[in-house]
């Protein structure tokens, strides 16, 4: 292999055609390079001790101007672009054209921002604006200047919000602002500047609408632009755009107020934002019909309402100097799609602002899981996280130990117990924060993280047991202290187990949302979900019974009577809810197993491996954490081996699920989300029951019949349907 070093025999001559400077000396190495190239064989790459072939390949980046000098951009620097008139101030000496250009810039900014939110880099989107890159140049143009300031202030606020949330998802491009003027002195005053511009525009709008008789009084107001018949249209177009920015900035500021104090006000600003977006859309026709310059060909892809290309943007300018950017120019969202994006963002933020800040842990969990159903983007998700966890407390208000005690159904006083100072208990609090953080990330990343933290939750259980035992032996001396400590320990431990199984269940269920399972894997997945659900129901029930026990013992002491548990005992609704799921997952597992056993379809066979390997891969993290104990591929195959359509329990599964779901309607009458879920389960159970009966009657599946499993009623529980193909 050739090495590109100095070589021993010939010295490179000094070439006087490039004069040496104060600190530079030039050598001509052309002949050396020539000989080195000669040494290389065909298909050989330069590589050496510390520069292997992988490095050689990776170092050669095509289309990145930092690495690939062959890439030609329009301008090599921002200054060169400005010198060549790429960002004139004012944009035109014709005031009408100037206003049209500014509106186009405002619209293009919206498209850039939405593209940035959806995974682009700041450098290639918002900061592709030359006016933004040289902030001092716009000071003579009040409208553009104040608009730029509020854009920067908004972007800066979002970068800091997402950075603080620190979810470290794949979208790490979002916060990269190296080399960009993100914070400029004076940006804090952006709102007052916008307000001043707003006031001027209001006067201009009033002036142009005033009847001729009153015009003399208002003559001192200089119109926005020179065509009086278009003045109203342009004033309105600018007003709704700057007002949208003002309200959006307010939304972000209110959301960041500690302990959720700004949520109500944020909601009001959200409504204003949505109203201004509607107004912006209404101005499209006017702007399109009155555009001075050429319009783009493709209506669907235009980044401005008018259809004109905006002045002053160049996405290649930052590639040499600023934060790492992908070498190819990314496609910007169209203006219409950007408006849609902001509408959705505002909707998701509104959902967050409507949250009641439930101090109950389960309520917080359900809130996060429910919001994720809307598939919120990074900005919304970062704000959920920032709302949930502040200063190491839930909503900045509730200490984690208090949250845990309440969730573990301990009495109110338990939250003051000294055990909270214990290191393991504090670590449990940290695990709780991590869990909230993880649940706020995008589903794909979330699932991977949920799998990884399973082990942490198992370990903390063991650590807590040891820690409690030590406390028991060392500090708790009186029987009262011992009783109290024992109660706290028992409740917390059972709660930890319950949460561990909850995480395992979510890990498995989310796999369906992410389409990670192929149909021939559904059988083993539903089997695993079934056994996890059984454990989860067991722990939940134990936790509730434990707390009922304690309260009964208390009441027994106080009132001196004994309740007959056996006769009147009602299984708590939340446990029955899980029982529903258990029946459905069992039923599905059995249908799939029967299809394999009797019809030889939906099998997990391949030329290179068997179902065992697939099982190991899918459930590796659960198995490692022994969730649950004794679950193995062997126990799975044992369970499904003898399942046939004649197996009676399979038929009862779906009927039982339907029955329980109907009975539970009363218990969750005030909870529309849960009622909705119960309806979904009923549908799934009913349709699967029908399919099952059909399959039993048919005996064997004729080739003309196809069975499919689709998620039409519930995102995690499939509905089987038999169709003629």
């Amino acid at each position: 292999m050739a090495e590109a070093d100095g070589g021993g025999d010939a010295k490179a001559p000094l070439n006087s055609s490039i004069p040496s400077g104060k600190d530079t000396v030039w050598f001509d190495v052309s002949s050396l390079l020539h000989r080195a190239c000669h040494d290389l064989r065909n298909d050989e790459l330069i590589n050496g001790e510390n520069f292997n072939l992988f490095a050689a390949m990776s170092a050669l980046e095509i289309m990145d101007p930092k690495m690939d000098s062959g890439i030609v951009s329009t301008y090599y620097s921002v200054d060169e672009a400005i010198e060549n008139g790429a960002a004139p101030i004012p944009l035109s000496f014709d005031r009408t054209i100037d206003v049209q250009c500014v509106i186009d810039i405002m619209d293009h900014f919206l498209a850039c921002e939405a593209t940035w939110h959806k995974g682009g880099s700041l450098a290639q989107t918002v900061f592709s604006c030359i006016y933004l890159l040289r902030p001092e140049r716009t000071s003579s143009h009040a409208l553009l200047h104040s608009f730029c300031r509020v854009i920067r202030a908004t972007c800066s606020a979002l970068v800091s919000a997402v950075s603080e949330a620190r979810t470290n998802e794949e979208e790490d491009l979002f916060t990269m602002a190296y080399g960009l003027p993100l914070k400029v002195n004076g940006d804090e005053k952006c709102l007052s500047m916008i307000h001043a511009v707003d006031e001027t525009l209001c006067r201009q709008l009033k002036a142009c609408k005033a009847p001729v008789s009153k015009k003399t009084v208002l003559e001192d107001v200089e119109p926005l632009q020179t065509h009086l018949d278009l003045e109203e249209g342009f004033c309105k177009a600018v007003l709704c755009r700057i007002r949208f920015r003002k309200h959006f900035y307010h939304v972000l500021t209110c959301l960041r107020k500690p302990q959720g104090r700004g949520l109500e006000l944020a909601k009001k600003h959200i409504i204003s934002c949505l109203s201004e977006l509607d107004s912006m859309l209404k101005t499209e026709e006017f702007l399109r019909d009155n555009s001075a310059r050429g319009t783009v060909e493709n209506e669907d892809e235009k980044t401005t309402a008018s259809g004109c290309q905006p002045v002053g943007f160049d996405s290649t300018l930052n590639s040499r100097s600023a934060a790492p950017t992908p070498p190819r120019a990314i496609k910007l969202l169209s203006w219409k799609k950007a408006v849609d994006y902001f509408r959705k963002l505002l909707h998701d933020l509104d959902v967050i602002c409507s949250y009641s800040l439930d101090p109950v842990f389960e309520g917080a969990l359900r809130f996060v899981v429910d919001v994720q159903k809307f598939q919120p983007d990074l900005v919304a998700r970062a704000h959920i996280q920032l709302l949930l966890v502040q200063d190491g407390k839930l909503y900045g208000r509730e200490s984690l130990f208090a949250v845990i005690c309440k969730a573990a159904l301990l009495p109110e006083g338990a939250k003051n117990h000294d055990i909270q100072k214990n290191e393991s208990v504090q670590q449990l609090g940290q695990l709780l924060i991590t869990l909230f953080r993880v649940l706020c990330t995008n589903t794909a990343w979330q699932r991977r993280k949920l799998g990884k933290i399973l082990q942490d939750w198992r370990i903390i259980y063991v650590q807590l047991e040891l820690a409690f035992r030590k406390e028991f032996g060392e500090t708790a001396s009186t029987s009262v202290e011992q009783d109290l400590l024992l109660k706290v320990c028992k409740h917390i431990l059972i709660w930890v187990e319950e949460q561990t199984y909850w995480i395992a269940l979510r890990f498995l269920m989310v796999g369906f949302e992410l389409e990670l399972y192929s149909t021939d894997e559904y059988c083993m997945v539903y089997w695993y979900i079934y056994i996890i659900l059984i454990k989860l129901a067991e722990k939940t029930h134990l936790k509730i019974m434990l707390s009922n026990d304690s309260s009964r013992r208390k009441s027994k002491k106080k009132k001196g009577f004994v309740k007959d548990v056996g006769k009147d005992y009602q299984v708590p609704p939340v446990v029955l809810f899980l029982q529903c799921y258990i029946h459905v997952s069992q039923g599905l597992m059995m249908i799939l197993a029967s299809l394999r056993n009797e019809n030889n379809i939906i099998l997990c066979q391949g030329p290179f491996n068997t179902e065992h390997e697939r099982f190991v891969q899918h459930f590796e993290l659960l198995q490692k954490a022994s969730l649950p104990d004794h679950a193995s591929f062997f126990s799975f195959t044992e369970t499904v081996a003898n399942t046939h359509f004649s197996t009676l329990s399979m038929h009862n599964c779906f009927k039982d699920a339907q029955k329980i779901a109907k009975e539970l309607r009363g218990s969750f009458a005030n909870d529309p989300d849960r009622l909705g879920e119960l309806r979904q389960i009923e549908q799934v159970a009913e349709h699967n029951h029908v399919a099952l009966n059909l399959l039993c009657q048919l005996g064997s599946l004729e080739p003309s019949l196809k069975i499919s499993f689709d998620f039409i009623h519930h995102p995690h529980f499939a509905t089987a349907s038999v169709k003629r193909s």
Partner: protein, 190 residues
């Protein structure tokens, strides 16, 4: 439009030198969305020529697969970098054959698993690899520059470690067959 041909007319060849490189490059440049520099191709075929295969129909290169293998965090793993078959030749098992040949070499070379990424929308690739025993191990959010998610697909080869539960089973079965009357626990478990 699918071409009429008999699959027996397809010849498969292992990468055997520089003369194959332009054929591979042309195919991949034509059909796949990501542009690669020649150095990328050279990296793969220079280091792992035995993992790249070409499919020919009457002297024309109609399909190729390019792979690598190596240590990745204490696992010896194969990686499928590129798989292309000309549009008119698809649906006839050529891609499956190319990939299978590569996977066989990986297996024989001691790989523990094989992995690759595929767009979540690429139903054809997902079905192909699914049939070969790959699972969708992870979903990668917005993996591609156009914002599309990807699946990381993984094939785990059967491990040579003994599975004790199975061997107990087979020993118990054996005793029934031979009928020597020894209770299973006293048998030596191999």
């Amino acid at each position: 439009m699918a071409l009429e041909f008999d699959t027996s007319e397809i010849e498969y060849m292992s990468y055997s030198g520089e003369h194959h490189l332009p054929l591979i490059m042309n195919l991949v440049d034509q059909e796949l969305s990501e542009p690669y520099s020649i150095f990328t191709y050279r990296y793969f075929v220079y280091l792992w020529p035995n993992l790249s295969f070409l499919a020919f129909h009457k002297g024309k290169c109609v399909g190729t697969v390019v792979c690598k293998m190596g240590d990745h965090r204490h696992t010896f793993r194969g990686y499928i970098a590129m798989l292309v078959v000309l549009n008119s030749y698809r649906g006839r098992g050529i891609a499956t054959e190319l990939v299978s040949r590569s996977i066989k070499v990986m297996m024989e070379s001691g790989c523990e698993e094989v992995t690759l990424e595929a767009e979540v929308t690429n139903k054809g690739a997902l079905a192909l690899y699914g049939r070969l025993g790959f699972i969708r191990a992870k979903r990668l959010f917005r993996y591609y520059l156009n914002g599309v998610d990807a699946f990381r697909l993984k094939l785990l080869f059967p491990r040579p470690e003994p599975d004790y539960s199975d061997s107990i089973k087979s020993v118990a079965d054996e005793s029934e067959e031979h009928g020597d009357g020894m209770p299973p626990e006293e048998r030596i478990i191999q």
